[in-house]
Amino acid sequence: MLSEKMERRKFLKTMSSTLLGAAAAPLLSGLPSFAKAGETSSLEYRTLGKTGLKVTTVSMGVMNCSDPAVLQRAFDLGINFYDTADCYMRGHNEEMVGKVFEGKRDKVHIQTKVHPGDEKKMRASVERSLRRLRTDYIDVLVWHGHRHPEEVSDPGLFEFMGKMKKEGKTRFIGFSAHSNMASLLTEAAKSTFHDVALVSYNFTHSKGLKEAVALAAKAGIGIVAMKTQAGGYKKGKMEGITPHQAALKYVLTDQNVAAAVPGVVSIEEIEECAAVMKSSFSRGNLEQLKKYRAFLDGRICTMCGGCTGECPNGVAYGDLLRLVMYHDGYQNDRLVKEAFGDSPAVAQIERCSECLSCSVMCRRGIDIRGKMELARSILRDLNMTGSIAG
């Protein structure tokens, strides 16, 4: 359970003005909708667990989006489920959602979040969300950022969220998690309390998470996948399927996932994501995706933590694997310099030469020693070897 102090801190992070922002005020009112006829004919819906809501499998993470035109485009494409949060851009994100969907509220489902705190503050947060969203109900209210299984069963959470549901502030409730998802979903499946779980889920994650997703879905919890793109795959196209689409489709091949909420910031991105719903994947396509995943496996560290503490010399190989990913995957040496300019991990890499073989084993097949040699090579090419202890 979170300490009171931590709850307070989280509340402070969510504090925000209730006044409407106007700097990026949408200019949508009165403008015609230019959605082409037939655009909504290939939508794919799934039921969001026991909520019974029929949501588009490709939905939208609004978090990083600041232009109302992108939301409007998503709506015109037929997307009907939108994930935002009280804290995104100090509430500005919710305000934008509220403005765009004013008058269309019955056509969309809105999910937003609340942070732990005392009841008075959480209640105030929910009320602010309702005002910003210009609605008198939230479809799914999510308790933001769980990390430990005990938080999923927190009696304080049950009590408050239960009240919100009873009072009609929200129709359904749930939690979100960026890490330790399998444990959290397994714990959540033990009770009937949670209607929805918003979890990081993508092609880099383990079978364990897939099983936990299945367990939770079987318990009636609607699974919403976020961080579906995972990053690190800007490597061209595969027979007409862009990496983003491939990653999204990969998540949606799991029928236990009701919807994915890729975070998009442009009209082009939401169109690219929505097109996934129109595509039917053959076995050949799936094989291609598997090959693509295999290409990424061994290249991308998913930060699963499975190898933590295995190096006897204390080399921070996790950081150095990330360095290789920035160079090799993102092809962004600027990021390498920014992130590792003064990192102690760079100096530690020399310790690798003290071992004839590497004792660190990666369960996902990453050749740690090979990657460390590559990291040294990258650092030399970028003239960052001055940082390496001689």
Binding site: S16, L31, E95
Partner: protein
Amino acid sequence: MKKGLIILSISILLFVLRDSSFGATTVGSLLPLKDFPKGWTLIEGPKNFNKKTLFNHINGQAELFLKYGYQKSAFAIYQNKKNTENQIDLDIYDMGNVLQAFGVFSRFRTEDRPGGFGLDSYLDERSAFFYQGKFFVLIQTTEPNPDLLKQWATMISKRIPGPSSPPMEIRYFPPDHLKAGSIQYYSESLLGHHFLKRGFQGAYLSGSKEFQLFLAIFGNSQEAVKAIGAYKDYLSSRGKVSTGVPRAFGPNAFKGEDPYKGKIIGLQKGAYLLGAVGFEREKEAEELLAEFVKNMK
């Protein structure tokens, strides 16, 4: 000639000194550990965060900071000795440069409520934030007290060394009818379009309506021209491309109707694509756009 060289040398020296003074300032050193207002005490922190750990501090909100070039940040909590419920949260973010610091500031600002500290600021009952140099500073209190917030913000502002100026592009926006506090910097997908990449936008008042001027920034003029082509393609397929663009706006200028934003007029100037969008009165938009271009000289 000699005088010119001396002035140039001094300018370069001042620029280098300015940058080095910021460069030498670590974000943690800006957090007051002892010399803060009487009656307050440090109860938590300082905590330092980096690109990998920022999520632990502010959850998904971290993504916004990362998109704007976030480098490092420091956080501390201060408590009033008499009223322990009265606490202050202080976050200082190193955003790498003044443009990125302004960018985050502009995305946080929901309306024009300047507090009179930093290069530009926002102040309400429970929160204050500002940018100065490469830093973005956010202060929040448990109890409503704008005077206290201003006192703390001013104190932090004074701790940030060296002179600093706002991003130069802000000055290009014509001041008349500009909605105060409306200029924002986007690190990607300006106007919601991937092809426009990064840039600024600001709102202008026209009677009871608003429209926007925007300035997309590219690496060179060829990229800007290419983006104009992409926008025209988009308008052709989804909206409308019109004729009657003033000659003074150059050979690459275009006019049309954006499906989600309304009337648009755009032009290319060097590595910039700039324009007006969402207007009703064309003449008014064209005049403002002409002034926008003029200000870039």
